[in-house]
Each structure stands twice: as C-alpha cells, then as structure tokens.
Symmetry: C2
Subunit: 219 residues, 2 copies
C-alpha cells in the first residue's frame, strides 16, 4: 500500500482496545510487523505494575515506581493515564507528538479509560478499534490458558472484561475476532483507509490548487 | 475479508467521484470485480444522454427520454439527480434501498452534484471517495486518448474537471491516482474498514449484551 506517493499528512493514533483474552496483543503484533516498513510504531506505556517474567523493560512497558509515575503525571508528561487492577498505566506524550507531526502512525494497545482520554484530548488524530471475543466461553478459555495468571486474577479479569466490553460503542470500529488472520486484515484496512482521510492529508489543499491552476492555463 | 462472520449490518453506499480522465471508471470496475462475491453491486444511473457505441443499455446506464426522466423525477423515484454537460443523470431509489436493508453495499460512480445530494439525503449510509489525477497534464493526456470524444468535448471536460476537483474537500477520503493497482487497494481498504464501523453493525448491540450476560453468569 506504500506505492502511491501521497500528499504530506499528519500521522494518526490507531487505538486498539479489548478485554484481556480477546486476542488484541496478537493482533497488535501482526499489524506492527506488517506496517513497520511504513513507519508504524507501538506506543510503549509507562506502568507501575510488576514486570511479568515474559516481559522486557522498554519493549513491553516502561516500568517505574509509583513515585516516579506520579511525578511525571503531575508534570503533564502523559497523554493519558489510568488505574487498572490497582496499578497505574500511562502514555508518555513526547514521542507520540513527534511521530504524528512527522507523518508517522502510532499504535496503542490500551483500555477504554485510556482510549477515552485520548479521544477527548485529540479526537482528530485518533482512529479507534474495539476487538470483541466471539463469545464469553472463548474469552474464559483464553484467559485460563495463560499459565502465569492465577485463579483469582482470571476471575478479576472476567469481571473487568464486562466493564471493558460495555464501552464498545465509543469506538469508531468494532471487530469480532472469530479468525485471527481476518481480524488482522480488518485492522490493516482500517489503518490504510484512515490514511486516505481527506482531513488528515494536510498537504492536499496545496496539491489541488496547483492542479486547478494548471488546468486553467491549458484551456 | 469475508471469513469473519460479522453481526447483522446495514449496507453502505460507496461513492466514487472524480473528473473525467482520472481513472475512476477503471477503479470502479476493479473494485466491483474484487467484491462481487461479497455482494457489492454497481448503482446503474438513469440518463438522458446519447448512448456511446461502447455502452450497453441497463449495464452502463438506464437510457431514457427527457420526458420519461422528468416524470420519474417528479414521482420521487430518484435518490439524486443532476444536469451535467446538458444531460440529466439520476440514481433510481428502489434498488439501492433494497440492497442496503439486506446488508449489501452499493458502489456509485457519480459526480460531485450527485454525491452532494446523497450526502444530504443519507449521510449515515454514505462513504465517499474523491479520486484525483496526479497532475493536470496526465488528466489531459487521458482525455485525449479517448478517441470517441471530439476536441470540443475534451475542452469542455477540462473546464468541468476544474469545477469537479474544487469539491474534493467534501469527501471522506481522497486518493491520488498515481498507480492504478494501489488506488484499487486503497478503495478496497476504505470499503472493508467502513464495514467494521461500529454504528453500521446494527446487530452488534444484541451480540454484546449476550456476551456480557454470559460473563456475569460465569463469575
């Protein structure tokens, strides 16, 4: 999709939300893989929650103490922040702003609270996608397969899933994740389509003015 | 993209506009070809203009007399109508309404006047795409290659192109047609993305309510 030279444009924030276990992380990775050459990057959240054995600092999260987190929050360094499952999460503002202004898109893997704050702060820059599980049973099964979560965590995630899912209607797009490959294609289509948005191609007005002037000169 | 069973949804009107010679007709055909299996059909316009040798009645247009056209127009049988280059054009309402209510999408190859009327009549059902030529020279060259148009027609089409292009900002999406294959992919992405629109998936609310109720029963 990168063959059409397009007018200068501002990057967009592609926000993916879903309850834990609906496949969001897998979809995010596949979308990033497919679009890295086109400049898509993942927004790395800051968090105060404990690192899981499978996670790397600076790759999955910027892990920090509650004290450091609250200091940054107070300084206005976060685009959004939220408390989830008793921990703090946030999006550092600076790297996102820089990417958007250079025409690069940023992928967000965040919950409804974060999405809601970004929507309020920058509605024009945001394209939001909610990923639904096909049904409740498949959601529970995926959570149970995660060996690193204990029973109490699974139960809490099921309760939180209900809250998260209740916010589906606030999103621009909704995908029901029956088939992972199809879901990835759908998210890619949303990203590609959003890039052709008239209002997002900030260089178009000048390009069109030139075409019109040249046509006039030909008549 | 048809592998994800999705919730019941209302069809959408995918409107393509461009000046003559920008590649719209070729793009429309390719998009139709790719999406016919998914139920996409072309809205056949009614027109009072003379049939070209390469055209078939009922396939390219519903050709009719001015008298018949004005009678249907008066009866409210048209979704939109316009006078272009001294001829009348319109979209018969009934077949479009039926397709949308059955969840099938309809492709429109119409000018800015028609697009503007559809936008006013049914903004929620419409996704609009404006196709720009890369520059004025390529537009003129494509018009000159059409053997069936004479010099006066080409000159008039160039003048009309300016008027048409001036309306680009009224469209949801704008594609600059540098590369035909890329442009087709972009229109397909817009169609696929539009199908995942939250407000367009009319069956989603009920599906989500069931997931939430089932999750509650599991806790």
């Amino acid at each position: 999709m990168s063959g059409n030279q397009t007018a200068a444009r501002r990057g967009l924030m592609l926000v993916l939300s879903s309850p834990s276990g609906a496949g969001k992380t897998t979809i995010s990775r596949a979308v990033l893989e497919a679009e890295r050459a086109n400049g898509l990057s993942l927004s790395i959240s800051a968090t105060t929650r404990a690192k899981r054995p499978s996670e790397m600092a600076g790759v999955h999260y910027h892990f920090m103490s509650e004290r450091e987190f609250l200091k940054k929050q107070k300084a206005g360094d976060f685009l959004e922040w939220a408390e989830v499952h008793g921990n703090y999460y946030a999006t550092p503002r600076e790297e996102v702003e820089q990417a958007l202004s250079e025409g690069r898109d940023v992928l967000f893997d965040i919950d409804w609270q974060g999405a809601s704050q970004i929507r309020k702060a920058a509605p024009e820059d945001m394209v939001s996608v909610f990923i639904l599980p096909p049904d409740a049973t498949s959601l529970r099964e995926r959570l149970e397969r995660r060996a690193e979560d204990d029973g109490a965590t699974i139960k809490r995630r099921l309760t939180n899933a209900r809250t998260e899912i209740a916010h589906w209607g606030e999103y621009d797009h909704v995908i029901v994740n029956h088939d992972l490959e199809v879901s990835v294609k759908e998210v890619l289509a949303i990203l590609h389509a959003s890039r052709t948005s008239a209002k997002r191609q900030t260089g178009l007005a000048a390009d069109v003015a030139k075409i019109i002037a040249d046509l006039e000169a030909m008549e």
